[in-house]
């Protein structure tokens, strides 16, 4: 079974530039998550999709971050404009959860963003 795919693996940009990350979840997984992991901290949930609808974006800095999941499969996360404090690893995860409650989330390798 193919895992969660993310690209790019690494990205270096200057502050105020824009950047986009892509995620392809495991086939058939209805729920998709984007997490931000700052060095030395645990992953923080940015946004959660159920199919192509947003179920939680309470911690997404909406003035600069946006995400979409068209057709309920792939997802993109965008930052515009980037700030130095956005330097982090951005993790994508997916799970089967379809109203059945609690299932395991599978994580991609992440995209390491460095803003200089």
């Amino acid at each position: 079974e193919a895992g969660v795919a993310q690209s790019p693996r690494y990205k270096i940009i200057e502050k105020r530039q824009s950047v986009a990350f892509w995620c392809n979840p495991i086939s058939g997984h209805a729920t998709l998550y984007w997490y931000q992991q700052i060095l030395g901290q645990g992953p923080k949930l940015l946004i959660q999709f159920q199919n192509n609808g947003v179920v939680d974006d309470s911690q997404l800095p909406k003035d600069r971050f946006s995400a979409e999941r068209l057709k309920g499969v792939d997802s993109t996360l965008k930052i515009q404009p980037a700030k130095l404090e956005d330097s982090a690893v951005y993790l994508c995860a997916s799970s089967l959860a379809r109203g059945l409650g609690n299932t395991e989330a599978f994580f991609g390798q992440g995209t390491r963003l460095t803003v200089v």
């Binding site: 409650g101 395991e104 989330a105």
Partner: protein
Amino acid sequence: AQSVTQLDSHVSVSEGTPVLLRCNYSSSYSPSLFWYVQHPNKGLQLLLKYTSAATLVKGINGFEAEFKKSETSFHLTKPSAHMSDAAEYFCVVSDLGRYSSASKIIFGSGTRLSIRP
């Protein structure tokens, strides 16, 4: 609302001695609980999970954890530490939360495990 508290940010043990990483959780519903490990510059790997079956859960690489509802704890243990166990460990809670159509997954802040030769 769910929350996870990992009580130690850093644990250091000698090789061959027991490991204990502590985790307490808060959940409004019946949670599932997980432990993930993250080696430097590597992705997150699932160690074990509790999903309302047996309260003592065995995972990979000799790790196990016990779900104690009365103490709201899910501590991770291993009888004998190995050098390769050095990594960051995350306790994770998942439940339906406010949105009944999908689980919400919350991470603890992590515990860095160091192994002394």
